[in-house]
Subunit: 425 residues, 2 copies
């Protein structure tokens, strides 16, 4: 322990894709690593929508950080909320304690942005955390229970109208999954309503859904969504939100359950570095991921704005975060060796989005897939990358079961988990 304490100390804030990859690469190296996160688990965010739509359980897509990193003697995990960073003193503070570092990797990601209308968050939750997902699952399932009980036709219709704001991958996945649940999973379970009557409306301000994808795949995604009965509205914005519905192009659409999948804002910790940030709060990093004047500080993943490769910021997706995490770790090792940090290059293997059973789009740059083949590719990649062997088997089994039977395994409405994250009481 004495000897270890002399070793250079690397602090990684954030145990997401970027932070975790960085930590693993620094495991068993001659330095001390502290990974700090607000939660005790690494979350496999790309499958969060499956928790929100009752296909998977929270534990299926979350792996305890301590368990994932336990084999590395030199890595310590700390459950804490970092509230300030002092880059000159090389210290971070959690309120309870201060932690000094020699190298810092900041990987705290992003949250939803409601474009200044923070009061909309309660009306239309986003989908970033397990808590978000469980809350959306509750609203979704409760909407059908509520519709089953009431007799007022207008109120029943409003309860069975689901509006998703934002037609990127998350919005498309949510819209498809909700449509599937209504049409295939719940369809025979009610006596007074027909769940297949549910309306699912996807609202995208851009001219097409999945606007980050090539146009042919956007068109294919639109067709696949429509085949599930999703009503897609493009080129329009949600102008106002209330408990009862939302306003689009001056028209009011009654809808009790609304989902927010539009716009991100970077973690506020980015503003503590003294480095320039962009409009959504992302840190403008150098081409080696360090920040101006502080080569010992690197910013990665959704929190970083990295425009040096394509002229535009790299997208906020897990492959970017993972590659940057490994690169930042390599930079630390280089600096320890007296070498300079290296320029980062993103190796883009393509992107995919899933829409439903046998429905997806995949852009592998040299070839575009849609439908069944894209869906199989999506399944394969997501199983492979899901952290932890147990989770992979459990998820595979539940997907197989859901595929064969159209049943969803996690249809629980749970309420009032009062507990906040605080010392045990």
């Amino acid at each position: 322990m004495q000897e270890q304490a002399q070793r250079p100390h690397v602090v990684i804030i954030g145990g997401g894709f970027g932070g975790l990859e960085g930590a693993k690469k620094l495991g068993s190296q001659p330095l001390r690593v502290t990974v700090i996160d607000r939660t005790n688990y690494h979350l496999f965010q790309p499958l969060l929508y499956q928790v929100a739509t009752a296909a998977l359980s929270p534990a299926d897509i979350a792996a305890p950080l301590r368990a994932v990193l336990t084999k590395h003697e030199n890595i310590e995990v700390m459950l804490a909320d970092v509230n300030s960073i002092d880059v000159n003193a090389r210290k971070i503070s959690t309120g309870e304690q201060e932690v000094a570092y020699d190298y810092l990797i900041l990987a705290t990601g992003s949250r939803h942005s409601y474009f200044g209308k923070d009061e909309w968050e309660k009306l239309a939750p986003g989908l970033k955390s397990l808590e978000d997902a469980v809350e959306l699952r509750r609203r979704l399932l409760m909407a059908f229970e509520y519709a089953e009980k009431i007799t007022d036709e207008a109120a029943r219709k409003a309860a069975m109208t689901f509006a998703i704001v934002g037609g990127g991958p998350t919005g498309v996945e949510m819209a498809g999954a909700i449509a599937e649940i209504a049409r295939y999973t719940l369809d025979k379970d009610f006596k007074h309503i027909n769940p297949s009557d549910a309306r699912v409306i996807l609202i995208e301000s851009d001219g097409r859904v999945l606007s980050g994808f090539p146009e042919d795949l956007s068109a294919s995604a639109l067709k696949q969504l429509q085949s599930l009965g999703v009503e897609v509205m493009t080129g329009v914005r949600a102008e106002n939100l209330t408990e009862e519905g939302l306003e689009v192009k001056g028209q009011f659409i009654p809808s009790r359950v609304k989902v927010w999948a539009a716009g991100n804002t970077a973690s506020s910790l980015g503003k503590h570095l003294g480095a320039p940030v962009d409009r959504s709060g992302r840190v403008m990093v150098n081409d080696d991921l360090t920040i101006p004047g502080h080569p010992e500080v690197q910013v990665i993943g959704d929190l970083a704005n990295f425009p040096h490769q394509t002229g535009k910021p790299l997208p906020g997706v897990s492959p970017v975060a993972m590659q940057q995490g490994r690169h930042a770790a390599a930079n630390v090792l280089a600096m320890l060796d007296g070498r300079r940090p290296q320029r980062f290059w993103y190796w883009d293997k393509g992107t995919m989005a899933t829409i439903g059973r046998n429905k997806a789009v995949a852009d592998l740059r040299w070839v575009h897939f849609s439908g069944f083949i894209a869906w199989m590719a999506w399944l394969f990649v997501h199983i492979i990358f899901l952290v932890g062997f147990r989770n992979r088997v459990a998820v595979l089994l539940q997907w197989a079961w859901a595929y064969l039977t159209f049943n969803k395994g996690a249809r629980l409405i749970t309420r009032n988990f009062q507990a906040e994250l605080r010392p045990p009481a």
Copy 2:
């Protein structure tokens, strides 16, 4: 539908073991059945302690009532909280609506009793609902996280001392599972504490643990608990509880996390029937499960006091509830046929309790088992009875994985699921 509305209407309140068995038996019979529950799922309560100790996920031990009963055209599921029963008008009320019945089966079970000290509930949660289990899991895991961070030795010891009040099956299961988690699952995951140093204290006011079991099995359970390092205190009571600990025999034991597994009180709906109730609120039923003067009303499971077979009330265990549920359904069918309800006889196949890996006791009346054989029997019975095929496979897989690796799959600390059960918003 017109024709169906003419059929006699059976209302079953409570979708636990008793209510669900009764409903299934009435499925596809020439009557209408409404099953009313506060939650949208049937909970497999005997495995709740495995959710509390991070071995299983909530969805593994809960099956949506609608899905379980979907194949019976004549059964309707209603998600609602019944707040009054009028046995003369033959109506129940949920606040939102009134439901008339021809036959009523009341199966709303029991909650914890804190013997008048309701303020202890926050200090030492019990284990009846999924919310309870997730809250206990959070406290348990947070205790180790907290101990890892603080430096004060006394506070650290208090955080790592777990007190379980009540040495019945639930208390014994919780004590064994917490000891196992500390010694085998978490043991290598921390840098500043050794989780195996955790103290687990089981407090039982009776002279022995598992006092409902034969003496030789109590003695065996005690030995098995001690082999896991559990400190068992018998013949003593928790005299006072505070945030910081509890008082036993005038001595204060510092302990942040406390679990309540002592004492039950019956659901308050039992008091609406006009029938006599016992000290813990259970309804004194006739020997055919009906209540005096109202053959159309039957009470089953934990809510019923049935002393007609042994002179003492039958125990509050699932086999009693299930047999009574089927019997009550048969009584309804008999009365519809113009016959009289029949006397209920409980067929007691024995009882079991598990303590940990390879550790359990089983009393099959004609033979007593303990250790590995009892544990295998316990596993077998619980897998067989776990409702729903998917759950069985998922649970089996997780148990096999946990057995081979000592890993727990659901080590999540989740916080502040704000949402209450109310219309979607």
